[in-house]
């Protein structure tokens, strides 16, 4: 299964094995990675599953939809590589993906 590394705001790494088809958010919640709230459960309605995608993976994770982009505009400390992790689906091409977590969600 694809491995995903979540690096929390203190620098601690959480490596999880994620099932293809679930979202990067779901893989974090299922593996108890702290720092992803996901209040709306993946409906792209709340912006509490914000992550920074490692620049090396920017192309592979795909583009943001306009809805997601607008939500991220108002997230805590948005950056160019900000994504809502509920909108990234795990695929085998994402094996090795690295994302960083902001200090706060929402």
């Amino acid at each position: 299964m694809p491995k995903i590394t979540y690096i929390d705001h203190t620098g601690k790494e959480h490596v999880v094995e994620a099932e293809p088809g679930v979202s990067v958010m779901e893989a974090a919640v299922k593996n108890m990675v702290p720092g992803i709230d996901a209040d709306c459960g993946g409906a792209c309605a709340c912006a509490t599953c914000h992550v920074y995608v490692d620049p090396a993976w920017a192309d592979k994770v795909g583009k943001k939809e306009p809805m997601e982009e607008s939500m991220l505009d108002f997230a805590y400390e948005p950056k160019e590589n900000s994504r809502l992790s509920c909108q990234i689906t795990v695929r085998k091409e994402l094996d090795g993906l690295v994302v960083r977590l902001p200090e706060f969600q929402g």
Binding site: V22, V29, D39, A43, C46, A47, F74
Partner: protein
């Protein structure tokens, strides 16, 4: 801090409160009772992706089983609590087992209001709250025929959208003269009415149901007008009632739900309440409210959990909500009741607009359709309680971001 915390109700609020107790450093026993057999799960997809068969039941789980093990949360699933005795500080489960508590949380939710008319107990008349309810409704979507939906609230309209997606004929019967009458403004009602009709829904407003008929199974709905609508199944979505029986029998104060203060404490200092069952003062609106929504359940549960563990958290969250129907995402901030003016921004025909509800210069609420920026800006403005620039808001050229800077 040791002792034992008991949580009654394993929905979004109950599950979150258990997590928040641990986050607040509570180290003693946590017992979480759930009437359903499933691990705590999210209900919103039950009328949408899960109903449509696009999401496995396991993906509804709020937290994995390992979470409850790791955090030493004693899950009692499929177990109803029948009695709360606040004098002795015990709860009694349906099998007779007694549990002493130091602090108790009522997170009992708000089950659907039931219709009581001739034929309302016929097989084929559905309600929607649990995984089991959604599982029972799914074959209706696969079988085709006509689904009659009673009530044009969020449950009714979301199921209507799911059913149309599955190719099922849908009639929606709403007693009021517009959809979402209880929760949204006229502009939003008009938008969703047109949207559902464009997707082929037979939407009848001002239509009350007098009875259901059928030979061993529902076959028709009879309207107050006498009109008969043949159907293969019925979904009733006519609101919810807070589950307050335990609180009432325990002698707690009720106020359209279980009364709490802004610390989520009930009239008994050892008992807290959170989520759909609780009515809590809102510092933003200066009045008591009972909200039926996931975000509110989470926020109140965080407050309750922190305070049960000895903290001093205050509930002051901005209410918000969302609904997905066809290609429309509605995001709501705040509560529009009491508004004396509405401002519409954006393009209704393009399905991208927002309705701003004001009272004087104060922004009370916003309904945003496919317009997350409006939602995000409104969340900040409603929380700030500060006067807004109504003129700027009404000007389509104004950049929304400038309103919060």
């Amino acid at each position: 801090m040791g002792g034992r915390m008991i949580i009654i109700g394993a929905g979004q609020a109950g599950s979150q409160a258990a997590a928040s107790l641990r986050q607040a450093g509570f180290d003693g026993d946590i017992v979480l009772f759930g009437a359903e057999a499933e691990l705590p799960y999210q209900r919103p997809p039950l009328s949408k992706a899960y109903l449509q068969g696009d999401l496995a039941a396991e993906r509804l789980q709020l937290r994995p089983a390992a979470f409850y093990e790791k955090e030493r949360i004693d899950l009692r699933l499929g177990v109803r609590v029948t009695t709360v005795n606040p004098a002795a500080r015990i709860v009694i489960a349906e099998d007779g087992e007694e549990f002493h508590y130091d602090k108790l949380l009522l997170a009992t939710g708000a089950p659907p209001r039931r219709l009581d008319c001739p034929g309302s107990d016929l097989p084929g008349v559905h309600y929607l709250r649990t995984i089991a309810d959604s599982d029972a409704l799914r074959p209706v979507l696969a079988a085709g025929g006509r689904l009659v939906i009673v009530g044009a609230g969020y449950i009714g309209l979301e199921v209507a959208a799911s059913a149309r997606k599955a190719g099922v004929d849908v009639t929606v019967l709403e007693m009021a003269d517009r959809v979402l009458a209880r929760v949204a403004g006229k502009e939003i009602s008009a938008f969703f009415e047109a949207l559902h009709r464009a997707h082929g829904v037979d939407l009848q407003l001002g239509a009350g149901v007098r009875a259901f008929e059928g030979n061993g199974r529902v076959e028709a709905a009879i309207l107050d007008s006498g009109e008969k609508i043949p159907c293969s199944a019925v979904l009733v979505g006519v609101g919810a009632r807070p589950s307050t029986r335990l609180a009432e029998e325990a002698g707690l104060t009720l106020a359209n739900g279980v009364w709490t203060d802004d610390h989520a404490r009930t009239s008994d200092p050892s008992i807290y309440a959170a989520g759909d069952c609780a009515s809590c003062p809102s510092p933003i609106y200066g009045r008591r409210m009972r909200l039926e929504s996931v975000p509110n359940a989470l926020e109140q549960a965080k407050v309750a959990g922190a305070n049960m563990a000895g903290g001093n958290a205050v509930y002051d969250a901005v209410p918000w909500f969302w609904s997905d129907q066809y290609d429309a995402k509605l995001q709501t901030v705040g509560v529009s009741e009491g508004a004396d003016r509405t401002i519409v921004r954006g393009d209704r025909a393009a399905m991208k607009f927002s309705v701003w509800y004001l009272n004087g210069a104060r922004l009370l609420a916003v309904d945003a359709i496919n317009e997350p920026a409006a939602f995000a800006v409104a969340k900040k403005l409603v929380a700030a309680k500060a006067p807004v620039d109504a003129k700027g808001l009404a000007d389509p050229e104004t950049d929304l971001k400038s309103l919060v800077l």
